[in-house]
């Protein structure tokens, strides 16, 4: 028992980087007699543990403004700063939904790029702070991958789903976000990138700074966005053109030789001037002339529910509106006010009929 606790004290010191030379020799001798333990020690030494859970970037800016100047943020925040207590409420809400994501990384060799993955599962949010200080708020059902060795490699990440990025400025090292349809290159800026695989388009909405969007199918066509602008790139057509070599192109695909690209201003709420593209940060669900089917995909992500249509006609019904802080039932009741449909909950699934 005495010997056992001695081993573990030494192992703990080794893993914590507290071991001196004499102790190193002692531990090496002990581990030489127990290869399995030696392997475990190596694995634990190479593993990094991290609990995610961070202060939202806009709250940090608020804190800094308060501490340094005791005034409101100078930069345009994603949300209006009218009521402080309301913002606290949202800060708390974000954390309730936040998955406390921790990760243990086991690396095998130094040559390969090891990717660390942070997920926001359906019904949750996740806040990520990258080693360079860049912060990303991940919307429900999204995933961000970054090299484990982020600081010593290029600033490159992969996004599936939707993220609100506040990229730390570093002119020498551009920050590149890869998605299935586009790559977005930035130097230091705030923007929203929406790239859900089950949606028809990839949307890059710029709040401040500058970004350069490259479409995979047209590498030489670089779109520069100005603050307050967004670009939508059609995912479906990109996919069609990509796969055309192997399969015969359909009639609709043949009429398009390149992805549909739309550049336009951000959409603002006529009442409170809030930017709609980033309204999800406040748990607002916004839909503009979307089919029920498209809307259902959003609801499934945001509430972690499964929606099944038993009536194909209602799938195509179009909805426009904005809801905030409603339960799924409340939301469905609101939708029922504009279009006729029924729903029931069976075995945790919502059936629309």
């Amino acid at each position: 028992m005495e010997a056992n606790s001695r081993v573990w004290k030494l192992i703990a010191r080794k893993i914590s980087g507290e071991l001196d030379r004499m102790e190193t020799e002692e531990l090496d001798r002990l581990l030489a007699a127990d290869p399995e333990l030696a392997a475990k020690v190596l694995a634990m030494q190479q593993a990094t543990v991290s609990t995610s859970g961070a202060i939202p970037a806009d709250r940090k800016e608020q804190m800094l403004q308060h501490i340094l100047h005791q005034q409101q943020p100078a930069e345009i925040p994603p949300t209006p700063v009218r009521k402080l207590h309301q913002r606290w409420y949202w800060a708390a809400a974000i954390f309730l939904g936040l998955i406390v994501a921790g990760s243990l990384y086991f690396f095998q060799s130094q040559q390969r790029v090891n990717w660390s993955i942070v997920q926001a599962k359906p019904g949750t949010r996740s806040n990520v702070v990258l080693p360079d200080g860049t912060t990303v708020t991940l919307n429900a059902g999204s995933e961000l991958a970054y090299p484990t060795d982020f600081m010593n490699s290029n600033r490159q990440v992969k996004l599936t789903g939707e993220g609100y990025f506040q990229v730390a400025k570093n002119a020498d090292r551009p920050f590149i976000i890869h998605t299935a349809t586009v790559d977005v290159k930035v130097l230091g800026t705030v923007f929203n990138l929406r790239a859900y695989p089950n949606e028809s388009k990839t949307e890059t909405a710029l709040i401040s700074g500058a970004v350069e969007v490259t479409i995979h199918r047209q590498k030489d066509n670089k779109i520069l966005l100005k603050p307050g602008e967004k670009v939508e790139v059609d995912n479906q057509l990109t996919t069609v053109t990509t796969t055309r070599s192997g399969t015969p192109a359909t009639a609709t695909a043949a009429t398009h030789t390149k992805p549909d690209i739309r550049i336009g201003p951000l959409v603002k709420d006529p009442v409170d001037q809030q930017v709609q593209e980033t309204a999800w940060l406040e748990y607002k669900l916004i839909f503009r002339e979307e089919t029920f089917e498209q809307l259902a995909a959003q609801i499934e992500r945001a509430y972690n529910v499964k929606i099944i249509f038993q009536d194909d006609a209602i799938k195509m019904a179009s909805f426009s509106g904005k809801v905030k802080d409603e339960s799924v039932t409340e939301l469905l009741n609101i939708l029922q006010a504009t279009k006729h449909f029924n729903y029931k909950t069976v075995a945790g699934q919502i059936i629309i009929y």
């Binding site: 893993i15 634990m44 800094l64 308060h66 406390v100 921790g102 997920q119």
Partner: protein, 184 residues
């Protein structure tokens, strides 16, 4: 980023340096405060209070011997004061009395290397460590603090820190399945 280079600039009222300093520590300190308080809103307030005081008395920052110990201790004390405010009748709260189960989701960057179940088992062990043990483990392994720093912050002996780290690692190692997933 080397903190020791930022400190003299902060003492000279360099706001940019203070901002870097804030971003370097705010999330770590937030997580530490949240382990004690379990209320993110309060944990944010604690972090804000601590940095507010540092900026107000920035001319004293140059005299701080160990910035890690200084910051974490300030957060610890402020957080314990919040706990006392919450329940004024409770006797002086200490770190050991805090029981704060935390959910941890574990993601493997390389699914071939170690199975998801195995990583989840490891995370479960970490989450189920006794509060003081888990706090020590996280300060040392996650935040990279020295034994002496963790001991000073939690007001424990350095030997206690060593013993608790040993306990934590022994439990974790029992969950690691060597040969099955890890090719060494």
């Amino acid at each position: 980023m080397d903190v020791s280079l930022l400190i003299p600039r902060i003492v000279n009222s360099d706001e940019q340096a203070f901002r870097q300093f804030f971003h370097l520590y705010s999330d770590r300190l937030f997580r530490f405060a949240n382990t004690i308080l379990q209320v993110p809103q309060e944990a944010e307030e604690v972090v804000s209070d601590v940095f507010f005081n540092i900026w107000q008395r920035r001319e004293n920052l140059g005299a701080v011997k160990n910035i890690n110990t200084y910051l974490y201790s300030a957060v610890r004390n402020t957080a314990l004061n919040y706990l006392k405010k919450r329940n004024p009748l409770a006797s002086a709260a200490t770190i050991e009395e805090i029981d704060t189960p935390q959910e941890l989701t574990v993601i493997s960057p390389d699914k071939q290397l170690i199975s998801k179940e195995n990583l989840e088992a490891i995370a479960r062990v970490i989450n189920n460590l006794p509060p003081a043990c888990r706090m020590i483990f996280k300060l040392v392994k996650e935040d990279g603090l020295k034994y002496q720093e963790a001991a000073d912050i939690l007001q424990l002996s350095i030997n206690t820190v060593n013993v608790q780290m040993g306990i934590a690692l022994k439990k974790i190692s029992q969950q690691i399945k060597i040969g099955q997933y890890i090719d060494l």
